[in-house]
């Protein structure tokens, strides 16, 4: 029997029964320094309360499914170590700024809609036949967009963004970062298709550069940088006619 224990306070909310979300405490064993918050939730679900609902998948910071508020900060729970909080209790809540479906599960429909709206895929005016061979890129051309391609759509940046919290029409950090990722790709020709969305009043211009999106990003994408650079590029494209690109 392990000696060390830790208290997890998790949001519980069943829209069919509860008027509002509430916190429920679970005292669980903390048997290994490598334990993360997701392990604690899994322990609760397996041994204490099987009705606790939350999303998770890969357990290694790749899938972006297990984002939650951990003591008020958006984090991937698979990357939030209990040892960093113990002996204090840990409060786990659903991501800020999103509707809650149940317990720790948020409704990501709004983000998925925004993500799709910026067409985060390579757009070609005319597809080349397969026989024409591959599109070549230099390392320097890949470096132009590599950082922004690391986004795993975990939505921590949206939970951290007060601008999105105050106005959920805002396109938001991750969608803009991914739009920039493709706009900077030398194979892509879709800038003009994305520009009406990212250059809209609810797009990049809504951002006031709080910068918290970049602070909480678990992959170092720096969406705030993507947004500010897009603002600068959009302005230059507007004032310099030769800045236009097909």
């Amino acid at each position: 029997m392990p000696d060390k224990r830790i208290t997890i306070r998790a949001t519980r909310y069943d829209p069919e029964k509860d008027q509002a979300p509430r916190l429920q405490s679970y005292d669980i064993p903390f048997y290994d320094d490598s334990m993360v918050v997701l392990d604690a939730l899994n322990h609760i679900k397996s041994h204490v309360d099987g009705s606790l609902s939350y999303r998770w998948s890969c357990r290694m910071g790749i899938c972006g499914s297990c984002g939650m508020m951990v003591n008020g900060t958006p984090k991937l729970t698979c990357n939030a170590f209990l040892r960093d909080y113990w002996p204090r209790s840990i409060t786990v809540q659903p991501l800020n700024n999103f509707p809650v479906i149940r317990d720790l599960v948020i409704d990501m429909e709004d983000f998925m809609h925004k993500l799709k709206s910026v067409k985060p895929w390579i757009i070609r005016k005319q597809e080349l036949p397969l026989g024409a061979g591959e599109h070549h890129q230099t390392n320097e051309q890949i470096d132009d967009f590599r950082q922004f391609s690391e986004c795993i759509n975990c939505m921590l940046c949206y939970a951290a963004c007060p601008v999105y919290g105050l106005n959920n029409e805002f396109l938001g950090p991750a969608a803009t970062a991914l739009a920039r990722r493709y706009n900077l790709d030398s194979r892509d020709q879709g800038l003009k298709e994305r520009q009406p969305i990212i250059g809209d009043a609810e797009g990049i211009w809504e951002c006031s550069f709080v910068g918290e999106c970049s602070v909480v990003c678990p992959k170092g994408v720096d969406p705030a940088k993507a947004i500010q650079q897009t603002k600068l590029d959009t302005t230059m494209r507007f004032v310099l006619p030769y800045g236009n690109r097909d």
């Binding site: 919290g165 709080v210 910068g211 918290e212 602070v215 720096d222 650079q229």
Partner: protein, 111 residues
């Protein structure tokens, strides 16, 4: 979002302070424009005191703005991206240089 959202995180608070510093700077600028229109300092003592009050706001705003320049400006020299640190350093150098030139100009005009 609760009304006190900006007190919840240190980062939010510093952001709000950064944005707030624009208010006294805008007032100072309007005051200056008014004095320029009048071609004299209407209330020299009050303007001097208000300028001193505004100085830390101006310094904080400039400092935060220029520190962020590395995230905003991006360009390449000889096909290699210029580092954010160098961009920030150049912004501060330009800021200090411009301040020195303006100070010398004002001192020269005052003589």
């Amino acid at each position: 979002m609760p009304p006190n959202w900006w007190t919840r995180q240190r980062h939010y608070f510093l952001y709000t302070v950064r944005e707030f510093t624009s208010v006294p700077l805008a007032i100072w600028l309007l005051w200056l424009l008014y004095d320029i229109r009048e071609t004299r300092l209407v209330q020299p003592a009050a303007f001097a005191i208000f300028s001193i009050v505004c100085l830390p706001f101006a310094l904080y705003h400039s400092w935060t703005f220029l520190s962020l320049a590395g995230s905003i400006i991006h360009f390449k020299v000889l096909d290699r991206p210029v580092s954010a640190r160098l961009i920030v350093a150049s912004q501060f150098a330009l800021w200090i240089g411009a301040s020195v030139v303006i100070a010398l100009l004002l001192v020269g005009l005052a003589r």
